[in-house]
């Protein structure tokens, strides 16, 4: 298949791997965090750790939107799902994420109308077909998904689809990375930055990482060649800077149209990240001018519907997701991993999402197998 096979070519892979082996400083350990869940999955799927020198340590970061969605978001979604006449439209990965007491999958089995969609535009279609129902789309994801969700709201406003709303759990990447580099426990020398986020925001929002914190950064694509080449670029950097490997997709300044639609519909807010906690300005909430499409405003304001039926959210103490998302621990350090916590019965979100670090280790990792 064109545009994929070229980036999985064995000869090229061997060549880049060889260059990496030649370029590494033998006396140094390189701690490189791959921020994005798609990178984590790709690294495992293609067995890239096997072909890298031992001095390169790849640490999985917080870049899986499902994994960083906190219990309270799931609890809220479940509460809304149980309201009369509501259809929840969501990405499939969200179904199994455990909230404080239940999951959307379990609520679905109990009779809630929860439908899997591949895009917010599919959710709009459900809204058009069901004028007597209230459709709530669970908006999660980073800058990559936010523009399409913003568009869905703009379309809904234009078409006067008043039965459509979005529960926004959107998060932004540069702000959480700033929180990460502030954390003194986290030892990372360089970042492999998510290519698709930069397709929207470009490279400039990350420049503080190299300027203020002296971290090498390469914005990378997702195929084996992309990842290896990005690692090579990191190793070769003399002075820390932000570089783009994924040039076939990314413009330095990003996609102005997409940025515009995000800014039109959303504004920055404080956001809670599972495992990381509250991070200032790292979330996107729907602006007041679009409040009729904000599920938080329409369904969760206690004043409107009397007593709110939201539960008090609790984090699961057996779960190491927080440490894992920060790269402080690996899944193998977690007492629940592959024992109490499996993809069928996940305790933490890192096991639920197909891009979660624990799911990747469970599915592809070598060491998991003896404990299964």
């Amino acid at each position: 298949m064109r545009y994929v096979d070229e980036f999985r070519n064995r000869r090229l892979i061997d060549k880049v791997a060889q260059e990496i082996r030649c370029a590494v400083d033998p006396d140094r350990v390189y701690n490189i965090m791959e921020v994005c869940g798609t990178h984590t999955m790709s690294i495992f799927r293609f067995g890239l750790r096997d072909i890298l020198p031992k001095s390169i340590k790849l640490i999985s970061g917080p870049g899986c939107p499902v994994c960083v969605t906190p219990n309270e978001f799931i609890d809220k979604a479940i509460a809304i799902a149980n309201m009369k006449g509501v259809i929840i439209a969501t990405f499939g990965d969200m179904l199994k994420v455990p909230g404080s007491r239940s999951s959307l999958e379990k609520e679905k089995a109990k009779g809630c109308d929860i439908r899997i969609v591949y895009s917010s535009l599919d959710a709009l279609q459900i809204a058009r077909k069901n004028p007597n129902k209230r459709i709530v789309f669970l908006g999660i994801g980073f800058e990559t998904t936010a523009p399409t969700v913003a568009q869905s709201i703009l379309i809904a406003k234009k078409e006067r689809l008043n039965n459509y709303s979005v529960l926004s759990g959107h998060k932004t990447m540069p702000e959480v990375m700033e929180a990460l580099v502030h954390d003194k426990l986290i030892k990372v020398d360089a970042f492999l930055l998510p290519g698709h986020v930069s397709a929207i925001i470009g490279m400039h929002p990350y420049e503080f990482l190299s300027k203020s914190y002296k971290k090498s950064c390469v914005i990378s694509g997702f195929e084996p060649i992309d990842i290896l080449q990005s690692i090579l670029m990191i190793i070769k950097q003399v002075k820390p800077k932000v570089e783009i490997q994924y040039g076939r997709i990314i413009e330095k300044s990003g996609n102005p149209l997409a940025k515009k639609s995000i800014n039109k519909v959303f504004e920055r807010c404080l956001s809670v990240w599972r495992g990381i906690g509250r991070v200032r300005k790292s979330g996107l909430k729907i602006r007041r001018s679009y409040k009729e499409f904000d599920a938080d405003y329409r369904h969760c304001e206690p004043a409107k519907g009397g007593r709110s039926n939201l539960v008090d959210s609790k984090d699961n103490i057996r779960c190491f997701c927080g440490y894992i998302l920060k790269g402080l621990k690996t899944p193998y350090d977690c007492p629940s991993f592959a024992k109490a916590c499996t993809p069928e019965n996940p305790i933490g979100a890192c096991m639920v999402s197909s891009e979660g670090t624990c799911a990747a280790n469970y599915k592809y990792g070598k060491d998991t197998t003896h404990s299964r």
């Binding site: 298949m1 994929v4 999985r8 064995r10 892979i13 061997d14 791997a17 495992f44 799927r45 293609f46 067995g47 890239l48 750790r49 096997d50 072909i51 499939g92 179904l95 199994k96 999958e105 379990k106 089995a109 109990k110 439908r115 899997i116 969609v117 591949y118 599919d122 084996p224 499996t342 993809p343 069928e344 996940p346 197909s354 469970y362 599915k363 592809y364 990792g365 070598k366 998991t368 197998t369 299964r372």
Partner: protein, 333 residues
């Protein structure tokens, strides 16, 4: 109270747990315990293979097939992989009130054609109609009986060094069904591989007496089927990513939807484990059949990693290929 979730029917680990903890517990007997695609039962001196399967595929018409032909081929294949010659099948239909008569005719004609193509007779049937909403258009159950012609196929005969063959490209069925599913539909030229394998299998068994074991990789795909073979823990299986036959359209569909072709259902493919010496012979015989043109050796049985299936990746690394767990692909067959 615990509820049954869609994942319980996915063909993966959760389904196996449900089978072991409920069905096996309540219905246990030596034949059921074998957990083969078909039960092998002895009546007098004759050995028979007996199997059943229900079909709930959504949508009921898909590129390359429909629920009618699928219901025949699925059962025929379950008999054939056990070394049986499929003879008779039953047809149980559960129809939703309001179904177009024309559509039903089309499906039944398809059953008839598929039965002729596979050389089996539909000898008994049942028809039920339920209220609108109680089922989705039409569900079909078929059971089948076949005569064992090649006894002795068994997972216990597999030894390190044996070759693992697949009869054609993998994942075509799942992608063809998904490409037409409401809410996902995308433009794709992939056709389902749904087809009767009894001819191809009989020929392979005729040319070699060193075929050890066979299974059709339906739900859960090649990965899950191979994992079922290694569960006893006596050997491992190594597969070579470079050699996996995957059609371009399936590759594209997988990239789009985030699937791994190793986990996608096939409905007209068989995995054959054969002694290395007979590999060429069997491969030639498979390739002489139109359904096996793209047959390939995809891997081998190994001593290392007993109980595990692992993949040598295109990039030269290795990774474990586990059983399907927790994926959301309901109603693919």
């Amino acid at each position: 109270m615990e509820k049954i979730l869609l994942t319980h029917g996915s063909g993966g680990t959760l389904m196996h747990k449900l089978i072991d903890s409920l069905f096996m517990r309540e219905l246990d007997n030596p034949i059921l315990r074998e957990k083969k695609d078909s039960a092998i039962v002895k009546i007098g001196k004759k050995s028979l293979a007996f199997t059943t399967d229900s079909y709930v595929v959504n949508p009921i018409l898909f590129p390359g097939g429909d629920i009618g032909s699928l219901a025949v081929y699925g059962t025929v294949n379950d008999l054939a992989v056990c070394g049986a010659k499929p003879l008779f099948i039953s047809l149980g239909m559960i129809i939703e009130e309001g179904l177009d008569r024309d559509l039903l005719e089309r499906i039944v004609r398809s059953v008839s054609l598929a039965a002729k193509r596979s050389g089996v007779k539909v000898v008994t049937g049942d028809t039920k109609v339920v209220e609108r909403g109680s089922c989705d258009k039409v569900f079909i159950n078929t059971s089948g009986i076949g005569e064992i012609c090649y006894p002795g196929l068994s997972v216990d005969k597999i030894k390190a060094g044996d070759s693992v063959l697949v009869s054609g490209t993998i994942g075509d069925h799942a992608i063809s069904v998904l490409s037409k599913r409401e809410g996902i539909s995308f433009s794709s030229k992939v056709k389902s591989d749904s087809a009767p394998l009894n001819g191809l299998i009989a020929r392979a068994l005729k040319v070699s007496d060193k075929v050890k074991f066979m299974r059709d990789p339906t739900r859960g795909g090649v990965a899950t089927t191979l994992n079922e073979m290694v569960t006893a823990g006596k050997f491992g299986i190594a597969i070579d990513e470079d050699r996996l036959p995957v059609a371009n359209g399936v590759k594209a569909g997988c990239e789009l939807l985030g699937f791994d072709p190793l986990y996608l259902a096939c409905e007209g493919r068989v995995i054959i484990v054969v002694q290395k010496l007979h590999e060429d012979k069997v491969l030639r015989s498979m390739r002489s059949d139109p359904l096996g043109r793209k047959a390939r050796v995809i891997g081998r049985v190994v001593k290392e990693f007993p109980g595990k299936v692992y993949l040598e990746t295109v990039s030269g690394g290795r990774r474990i290929v586990g059983m399907l767990s927790g994926e959301q692909l309901p109603r693919i067959c």
